[in-house]
Structure formats: C-alpha cells, structure tokens
C-alpha cells in the first residue's frame, strides 16, 4: 500500500541522509591533514586527528550509490544526490534527493540539526507536499542497511563515547596503520571496537565492531582510495558488513564536490521544487 511506501521512503531517506554524513565525513577532508608521522602519538591524539579529518566543517555535494545486499547476495541499489552545509554556529544542514530507482526518484529529505534537535522533512513528488519525520534513536539500525547512527556519526562520537587505547601498528593493504582499541564508556551494543587508521592521512581504513563476547559483529571498510585533484586521498567505496547477519551495505561515491552549497538548497521551498 502506498501509505506504507511513504514511510519506507522516509526510513530509507533518513538512512541515506545520515549515511551522507559518513560519506562526506571520510571523503572530504576540509583541511589537509597534518602529516604527523611521529610514532609516539597517544590514542586520544590520533582520535583528535581523526576528528579533524572525518568531520565535515564546510559545505559540499556528492552523488552516491547506496547498495544493500542481503545474505543471499541479492542487491538493491539507490542513487542519491546529497548536499551538506555546516554553519559557524554548528548548525548542520543536509539535503538528499533520490535519483533512482524510479519508484522513489524525486523524493527529497531535508534535515537540519542545531544543538540537540534534528528537524527532518520528507518530500514525495507523488504526494506533492512535505511532511515532518521523527528522527531515529542513535542506536537504531536503519532499515535496509547495516549502519546505525552511532557507527556513522564520525570521529567525535568515538572520542566522546569510547576510551581509546593504542595497540601495535600494523600494515593494512600495504598502508602503515595505527591500530586503536576503543572501549565504550557508556551503554553500547559493542564490547569494543578496533580501528585501523592510515598513518599518512589519518583516515580510518577499517573498523571492526566486536560483540561483548569478543566476536566480530560488523566490519566497516573504506576502499578504493584515490587521490583527488586537490591532492587528498579519498575512499570512493565504503562497505559495512554485518558478519552475523550476512548482510552488507555499500556506498559508492560517484561524484563529489567541495564547493559550498547555496543556503537556499536547505529550505522547504527547494524541497517542493520538481
């Protein structure tokens, strides 16, 4: 029933909107990372660097493909255009527009986060009007994906919510990495998290999420790193695998721009435009 589809799109929209943060977070380093090669950085210092590189402080846009894969290997793909802006006062604005598949193409989702509150509007072209959507709880797993808000909320969440401990450095796919063990300081679904951070760029290449019994539950990988025209290394594919469920979510970055997005994009007026 269409009534139901509305909500599904809303959920998918919220998913994609938050995933945008993850994509942009890793892909856009607004300030070139400091080439710190000292081996004596503490785990917290590494997380600080991570925060500097993983949190988008400017504005930009991207076209991404969001693929979900079930345990039988069947995939569902959504193509999205995403815009993001962060103001000096900390207000974050995101606009997401579905490009495909056909049944949701033209659907837009606008979210504005200021302080603790997030306001979200969903616009469906078939319905012809916007609708408010309630935000999800941070530990809720989004429908159809293997991410939670917590997992993709950027480096700051790790810094704030986990106690970091540095392990022995390792090589991962030929790249020398800091290895961190992060133990949650508060309520969490995980016993601990293990993170591989590329020493040269402070990009987390791989994150393993462990159950309380010490078994790997999920693995996040930033793949296909390429050097942009501005000389920054950027992953063009992000994969989150749920080892227990056998499912996978893949984000492919098709286009990306760091150009500031006009503020009018983040308005109900723009939402309503075809």
């Amino acid at each position: 029933m269409v009534r139901c589809e509305t909500r599904q799109v809303a959920s998918r929209g919220i998913v994609a909107c938050v995933l945008l943060a993850a994509v942009l977070a890793v892909a856009w380093a607004p300030v070139a990372p400091e080439r710190v090669r000292a081996a004596d950085l503490t785990a917290e210092q590494i997380l600080d660097k991570l925060e500097g590189t993983t949190m988008l402080t400017g504005s930009g846009s991207a076209t991404i493909e969001l693929v979900t894969e079930n345990k039988r290997g069947q995939q569902r793909s959504n193509k999205l255009r995403v815009f993001r802006s962060k103001a000096a006062d900390g207000t974050e604005k995101q606009l997401l527009e579905y490009l495909s598949p056909a049944d949701v193409a033209g659907t837009k989702l606008l979210s504005i986060t200021g302080g603790q509150e997030t306001q979200i509007w969903l616009f469906m072209p078939a319905l012809g009007r916007e609708r408010r959507i309630a935000g999800a709880e941070t530990r809720t797993k989004f429908m159809g994906t293997d991410f939670t808000y917590e997992e993709i909320s950027g480096g700051s969440a790790y810094k704030d919510d986990y106690k970091a401990e540095r392990l022995k450095d390792e090589d991962l796919d030929g790249r020398n990495c800091y290895v961190l063990r992060l133990t949650p300081t508060g309520e969490s679904d995980y016993g601990f998290v293990k993170m591989w951070v590329w020493r040269d760029e402070f990009i987390p290449l791989k994150i393993e999420f462990y159950n309380r019994d010490g078994k790997v539950r999920k693995v996040l990988s930033n793949l296909d790193l390429k050097k942009s025209s501005k000389g920054k290394w950027e992953p063009s594919t992000i994969v989150m695998s749920d080892v227990v469920a056998g499912t996978k979510t893949i984000i492919k970055i098709l286009e990306m721009s760091g150009e500031p997005v006009p503020d009018e994009y983040f308005t109900v007026r723009y939402l309503r435009r075809r």
Binding site: R3, C4, R7, E117, Q119, A136, R273
Partner: protein, 466 residues
C-alpha cells in the same frame, strides 16, 4: 465466475501492447532524456480482484502511468523552471470498461526570486494528516462510494488519487514561512456519489413514504426521474475558486492556516412534491415527486499542524465549512438529503517505528466528521445527521529485505463496522513487486462499512516501475 470473451482477449492484447509501448517510451525517453535533461518515468500495474462471497472475479484491472519532466532554462527562458506532464490509463477486463489515455497532471513551474508559480492542470496538496486531509480543499477526492471503506482505510493511496484541476498557484516565501495562493480556473465537480441503481431505489423508497404520509395508494405517487442530476456552473467567473494558505515553522512544529472559497464537490440533493390534479374535476389524483440536485459554493477555513516528538510524528488537521444556503433544503414541503448547516472535519494522528531498521511501523489516526458518514455525504435516513467518529490504524512489519506484511483498517466508533485489509508484498526485483491482499469489511448491513460486505475480496497484484 465469468469467462473471458474474445473481446476481452483483444483487450488483453491491447494492454500488453500498451505496456510494451510504455516501456519502449521509457527506454527511448531515457535515452533522449540523457541528452535533453528530460526524464521519463512510469509504472504498469495489474490487479486481479476475486470476490470472497463466491462471485468470482470482480475486477481484472490493468493500469499505467507515464510521466515526462524536465527543466526549463537556457537562452530562451528568462526565469528558471520546470515542466511536467503525466498521462494515465486503466482498463478493467471484468467488466470491460476503462479509459486508456487520460491526462493526469500537466503544468509549468516558474521560479522567480520572490515566488514560485505553477500553471496548469495540477494537484495542490495541503494538510498534515495521512489519507484524509480536511484542509486539502482544491482537488476533489475520488468518489468515496466507489472505493468504499477500502479507499478510506487505504490512506495515502486515496490521497494520491486526488483529481487534478486547471489552476494557477503561487507560493511566496517570506523569512518566517510561506504563503500559498491558488486560483482554480475550472473545478472538477464530482456529481452524486451514489450509484444510479441506488438512487432509483432511494427515490422509490421516498415515493412510498410520501404515499403513506399522504394516505395515497403507492401507485398514485410518481417519480419524475430516476436520478438526481445537477448542472455545473457555466461561466468562467462562476467556476473560479480561490484558496490561500499561510505556513510557518515554530521549533519542532509546522503550522498552517488556510481558507477556501469555491464549489462543494458534491451537489446537494432534495426531492420536491407537487400535487397532481384532474384537469377537469380539479380533484387530487396523485403526487409527483421531483428529484433535485444543485451545486453550491462553500467557504472553508482550516488549521493543520504537525510535529516530531521524540520518536513520534504527530499531526492534527481540521476544517470548518460554511455552505451557501440553498432555500429548498429548509423548505418543510421538501425532503432534503443535504443540509445548510455548517460542518467540520478533524483528523488527529501519530506514528512511530520500532526495533531495528524500522522493522515495525505503527500508525493510528482518529477522524471526526460532523456531517455523518465518510462514504456518502448525504442523509437518506430522516432526522438530523449524526456526527461520526472513526479510527484508522496501520501496522507494518518487514521481516526481511524483500518481504513486507501489513495490516490497515478503519473502524467506525458509532456503529462498530470496519474494514480490515491485511496485505503481503514481495519485492521480486528492484522495480517489480507482487502483493496479495484482502479487503474484509464487517458489521451489520445498515452500518457504514457493513453495507460493503459485497466488497469482501482478495487481490493479487503486480507492479513494474521504470
């Protein structure tokens, strides 16, 4: 169960051809669209509805929608904008009827710095509630009687089916919100939402009552016509309708104040009586009953609000209507099925998701209608119309990526009647879905939804979106 006629198979061939045509159009359109910026999209759907009362196949419906949209711009255009056109069609093989090509929406958007304009045949969707929007004044809903309780319980499905009208709409965006102004050039008037057979039956019943009241043999009371028919307004100035809405956002709240001056979608109905006398003797020889119908204008004002509260989305929407008075409705010599009384309608609701990935979704909505039944906007039983209260609910569970179970329904609190609609949907591929659903009305025959017991049915459907 009926069998397909040869003509039916020919129609199937036509529909297949149409579907292929649509797909070819989509393919070529997409290819063309890549160069021109235009986009073609659409869907093809087939529904097979089988009666659970043993009446066999009651509908075997193929339908499609094809749309083309693109941006306006370049040297030839002074302002940015976009254009959109969509056509739709449907054909029911059981019985064989339908309309293969019907213009749906066709409009041009122009984006000025001070306002956005939309000109053409369009749907203007206002309100915050699901399904039934008391403040969405401009476009009429499809006749509720034709879709029955299933339509009402269908929520957004019904909302999406609003009928487009030729109109000019402008939306201005001051810093505090938005102001929408609408002028409708040619409203779509819906006529009497009661099937012709039922109208004739109602009139016969009225004639019988009059005969009893007058102490006449029933055969001396004659009905001049078997149906109510109303003439739509003729001149352009008469046809014009106006609507306005002011919207603002306050924290987590969206608030809209709106008004409307235009035509009621459905005409008012009454029957008048005239004595029939013998031209020679002048004695009363009978009574003639004349069914009358007339469209009238109505003024409406409404308020709509929605907010997000933690994991909940809440909404409320209501409108008050002042119909223009039709003197005949208050004439004690007439039997009126409509009223000159103002009336109002309100909807309150909320929804939320539970569990991982929004696996479980729940929605509940309360509907108040001071004018009586949602299905038939007339009062055929003598006496003052009784306000009706309804509860609409929906639950959805998605146990796996491609599987979805849902139950929706509507319950009339006045008489205990209901329609329940469970449904299972399987996503065959990214673009193709299959579903199986039931429509289960219940209640006594005289109740709102109990009278729809003939609509007890199972539906098997498939949809391809491109």
């Amino acid at each position: 169960m009926r069998r397909y006629t040869k003509a039916g198979w020919v129609s199937i061939g036509s529909l297949v051809f149409l579907a292929v045509l649509a797909l070819c159009g989509a393919w070529t359109g997409t290819a063309w669209g890549e160069e021109s910026g235009a986009e073609v999209s659409g869907e093809v759907q087939h529904d097979l509805v089988i009666s659970l009362n043993g009446d066999g196949v009651v509908a075997n419906m193929a339908s499609y929608r094809l749309s083309l949209s693109g941006e306006l711009g370049g040297a030839g255009w002074a302002v940015p904008g976009s254009a959109y056109i969509s056509v739709k069609g449907e054909y029911d093989l059981q019985p064989e009827s339908g309309k293969l090509v019907d213009l749906d929406e066709a409009y041009v958007d122009l984006y000025f710095s001070c306002a956005d304009l939309r000109l053409g045949q369009q749907v203007i969707s206002w309100g915050t509630a699901y399904g039934l929007n008391p403040t969405s004044y401009v476009n009429p809903m499809p006749n509720p009687a034709s879709s029955g309780g299933a339509g009402v319980a269908g929520g957004v499905a019904l909302e999406l089916a609003r009928l487009p009208v030729p109109a000019m709409s402008a939306t201005i965006y001051p810093s505090w919100g938005d102001v929408g102004l609408v002028a409708v050039l040619n409203p779509r008037l819906q006529g009497v939402p009661v099937p012709g057979d039922a109208q004739a039956e109602i009139l016969r019943g009225v004639a019988y009552q009059i005969a009893q009241r007058q102490g006449l043999p029933p055969d001396l009371v004659t009905v001049s016509a078997e149906r109510f028919s109303a003439e739509p307004p003729e001149s352009l100035s008469d046809r014009l309708e106006y609507a306005a809405r002011v919207g603002t956002r306050m924290g987590n709240w969206d608030l809209y104040l709106s008004g409307f001056r235009g035509w009621d979608d459905h005409p008012v109905l009454w029957v008048s009586m005239a004595p029939v006398t013998d031209p020679v003797t002048g004695y009363l020889t009978g009574v003639r009953v004349d069914p009358n119908a007339a469209y009238r204008k109505v003024t409406k004002a409404g308020l709509a609000a929605s907010c997000a509260w933690g994991p909940y989305t809440l909404w409320g929407e209501g409108s008050y209507a002042w119909p223009d008075k039709v003197p005949e409705l208050d004439d004690p010599n007439n039997i009126a099925f409509s009223s000159n009384e103002p009336h109002w309608q309100a909807v309150l609701g909320g929804d939320r998701t539970f569990g991982d990935a929004g696996d479980v979704y729940l929605m509940a909505e309360y509907i108040y209608n001071s004018n009586g039944s949602l299905l038939v906007p007339y009062q055929f039983v003598p006496g003052k119309s009784e306000a009706r209260h309804y509860v609409v609910g929906m639950a959805r569970w998605q146990p796996a990526q491609d599987h979805q179970l849902e139950v929706s329904g509507i319950y009339c609190m006045n008489d205990g009647s209901y329609v329940a609609m469970p449904r299972y949907t399987y996503q065959l591929s990214q673009s193709t879905s299959l579903w199986f659903g039931l429509a289960l009305p219940g209640g006594d025959e005289e109740t709102d939804f109990g009278g729809l017991s003939d609509a007890r049915s199972a539906t098997l459907g498939v949809k391809l979106a491109f």
